[in-house]
Amino acid sequence: MFDNVIIGQYVPRNSLVHKIDPRAKLLAILLFIIFLFISRHPVVLSLAIVITGTTFILAKIPFRYYIKGMRFIAILIFFTFLLHLFMTREGTVIVDWPWLTVYSGGVVEGSLIALRLFLLVLMASLLTLTTTPIDLTDGMERLMKPLKRIRVPTHELALMMSIALRFIPTLLGETSKIVKAQMARGANFSEGSLWKRLKSLIPILIPLFVQSFKRAEDLAIAMEARGYGGGEGRTKFRQLRWKRNDSIAIGVFVMFALLTIVFGFIE
């Protein structure tokens, strides 16, 4: 039923990208996203495509699997493209029908935004596809560490995120089970008026809520029983180690950022 959900999904592979330190990955993606949206120079954009493509190939994620999970996002990107295509009123007129005018600027703007969104989504999903949730939250906690000075509860934020990520598959499995149980009792989710269909979701949502609360309570008790007392003075069993490849990866993205700035001046 939820076979195609790839949000928060981790695909174990023995690849170069998988082995990069999560801190490096987070920083690299941050750089990439910021500078991708700054420049519109063809060289910078081509470089962004090459970087994304190379990362994707190095990550060894099967292309077919990826495309299936991206279907929904693709629709969103397509609509954004259309929106820009019709709304932009710059450049020369290409199509001039009574009910529709398309300017050349529209094509450029639409393609540009679609390309940027596509690269952004690809990179961002590569992050979760190649990083275990535990590494991801460890990395975030480390990067947020300076914020602790101004009393941001960094450890708690990271813990919340790791619990949320950990329970996505559990929640999906549970939803699928409850849907099946109610279908076995004759529930029908695909027929009738919109109101009727919405109402037919109640028998799924209520058990889901009840169980989520119960699970949260169990988890809290289990954590307390094992002596959890917040982040204060807590040491880590798994240490993050910065390696040479991590520096190289960051290096590539810093170069990308610098080039973007350079081409910005040339323009």
Partner: protein
């Protein structure tokens, strides 16, 4: 209701790196009007198989025939609703499906889905709740306000309220104490005996239950059926069962140990307390004569 699987294959998460073949080209015929048990190690595909019996899963490949319904990979969902009226299903931890404000309304949910009026549905619900031993004082209570054992019985009443011909039970006694397990199994067996045309398919890890109640036992391993027969035939093959991670009922273990120790022949296929005592007595008797 008779079930016939023809080259049935089911693959989870097809075309992803997590692709698993849970059922692999399975051919199977289960006659109607009998009590059948399916045993097998965790992950052998039992749950996946039985979810085909009421159209919750559609085969990835091959087909399955349940009574007069045939289900293939391209069968429309719409055609499967009537099937679910005739095939009831109790999942592991069925209490997770409760949602209504009152116990009575929750049990009436199934019949109302199949077009019963509120009055009719509540009448059926009351009968079923009485059958599973829920007191009428509890009918207007919230299903979340009663004990775990009672919640489970309410959920089971909710399935029985559809008056199915075939009842599928997927580890229905998991997480109950031994006494609760026995009561639950007796409840199902009584339901089964009540009418000639009723059948039960029980998926279980309790070899004692499989041995005691079934007419036939089906053994699964690695997504396929590897053996079937009467409890007597199946539980005589201790070594084969142990090879795939299963055991024989405790009564059989006891009698086999006795047989090995005393080096004399005795009847080891006893599945009830009475039969076990009988077997031991006749052994002692024979011993006394020697």
């Amino acid at each position: 209701m008779q079930i016939k699987a023809n080259h049935l294959t089911y693959t989870y998460m097809k075309n992803t790196p997590f692709e698993t073949n849970a059922i692999d080209k399975l051919d199977l015929m289960i006659p109607g009007e009998q009590f059948t048990s399916i045993i097998g190690h965790t992950g052998s595909g039992k749950s996946t198989l039985v979810q085909h019996f009421n159209g919750l899963l559609k085969p990835t490949d091959g087909s399955i025939k349940i009574g007069e319904w045939t289900v293939k990979s391209d069968t429309k969902q719409k055609l499967l609703y009537p099937l679910r009226r005739h095939v009831g299903m109790v999942f592991q931890f069925p209490e997770h499906q409760l949602f209504h404000e009152t116990i009575l309304a929750d049990v009436a949910y199934g019949p109302m889905n199949f077009g019963f009026s509120k009055e009719e549905a509540e009448k059926v619900a009351k009968e079923c709740l009485a059958n599973v031993g829920i007191d009428d004082q509890l009918f207007d209570r919230s299903p979340f306000d009663v004990s775990g054992g009672q919640m489970r019985r309410v959920a089971i009443a909710g399935v029985l309220a559809l008056d199915p011909e075939l009842l599928i039970l997927d580890e229905p006694t998991a997480g109950l104490d031994p006494e609760g397990q026995e009561m639950m199994m007796k409840l199902f067996h009584d339901w089964y005996e009540e009418r000639e045309e009723r059948s039960i398919i029980l998926v279980t890890h309790q070899m004692e239950d499989a041995a005691r109640y079934s007419d036939e036992v089906i053994v699964m391993d690695g997504g396929n059926v590897i053996d079937r027969g009467t409890p007597r035939q199946i539980f005589a093959k201790k070594a084969e069962l142990e090879k795939i991670g299963l055991t024989v009922p405790e009564s059989v273990q006891l009698l086999e140990a006795l047989q090995a120790h005393s080096e004399s022949e005795l009847n080891t296929s006893a599945f009830t307390l009475e039969d076990t005592v009988e077997s031991i007595l006749s052994f002692l008797h024979k011993k006394g004569r020697d």
